[in-house]
Symmetry: C2
Subunit: 105 residues, 2 copies
DNA sequence: TATATAAGCAACCATTTGGTTTCGCAAATA
DNA sequence: TATTTGCGAAACCAAATGGTTGCTTATATA
């Protein structure tokens, strides 16, 4: 079972949940109220978000507050950064080549 | 059929393909050589990447070069930025509240 | 104490996914 | 011209996904 943050954020409902939880910790029921879906469906999304540790639970009486582990988002940034480096290096290499061609003329 | 960039980069093989194509445009066969998979499987991934316009084709004889549309990556950055703003605002609001409490004492 | 509420869990279902094999077409090459 | 090569498309398959309904447990409240 693939379960990484990219998989977690692939679903639009889960992305919306992440943004919701970025504002404040919430219970499954209160999250579900923001969407056109059932609590159980939200619960499943929360489980996936929990499994890749993007979200943590905090029991409070019979309610469970889910709050965001914002640090985890850095994994996405890290990949983007990796991409950006490759993309930039690619151009700088081209620059070097062009620079070489210039000198030879 | 959901087909957005988040869906596109949800698969680890597709993320690897994106990084490969960030270095240089490649044909399906040469891409497949970098992975433990068939050309057809790569072809399917390329189709998905094409559908969300993260990749463009360029026919050259009987070969088709796939190159990255790096601009598309900004959609991921945009969402991350949105998240970051919410996350930061959340803290600045807390700061304001604390600031208020301080003054009242 | 009886009832209402919050939530996880399991079973089920339709659809999507990632992969394979097979095929046909077009371009290159012998 | 005959053959090889590069490719997409279609048919098929097992597994995963997103959703539903029904159940149980635990906490709060009348």
């Amino acid at each position: 079972m693939r379960r990484d943050i990219f998989q977690a954020v692939a679903d639009p409902t889960r992305r919306a949940i992440v943004l919701l939880l970025a504002v404040q910790a919430m219970t499954p029921n209160s999250i579900a109220e923001h969407f056109d879906t059932t609590r159980q469906a939200v619960s499943k999304h929360l489980r996936i978000l929990s499994e890749c540790e993007l979200v943590k639970q905090q029991q409070q009486g019979r309610e469970i507050y889910y709050h965001l582990e914002a640090e985890k988002m850095k994994e996405i940034e890290a990949w983007l950064e990796k991409f950006r480096q490759i993309w930039q290096t690619r151009f700088s290499q081209l620059d070097e080549v062009l620079e070489q061609l210039k000198k030879k003329r």
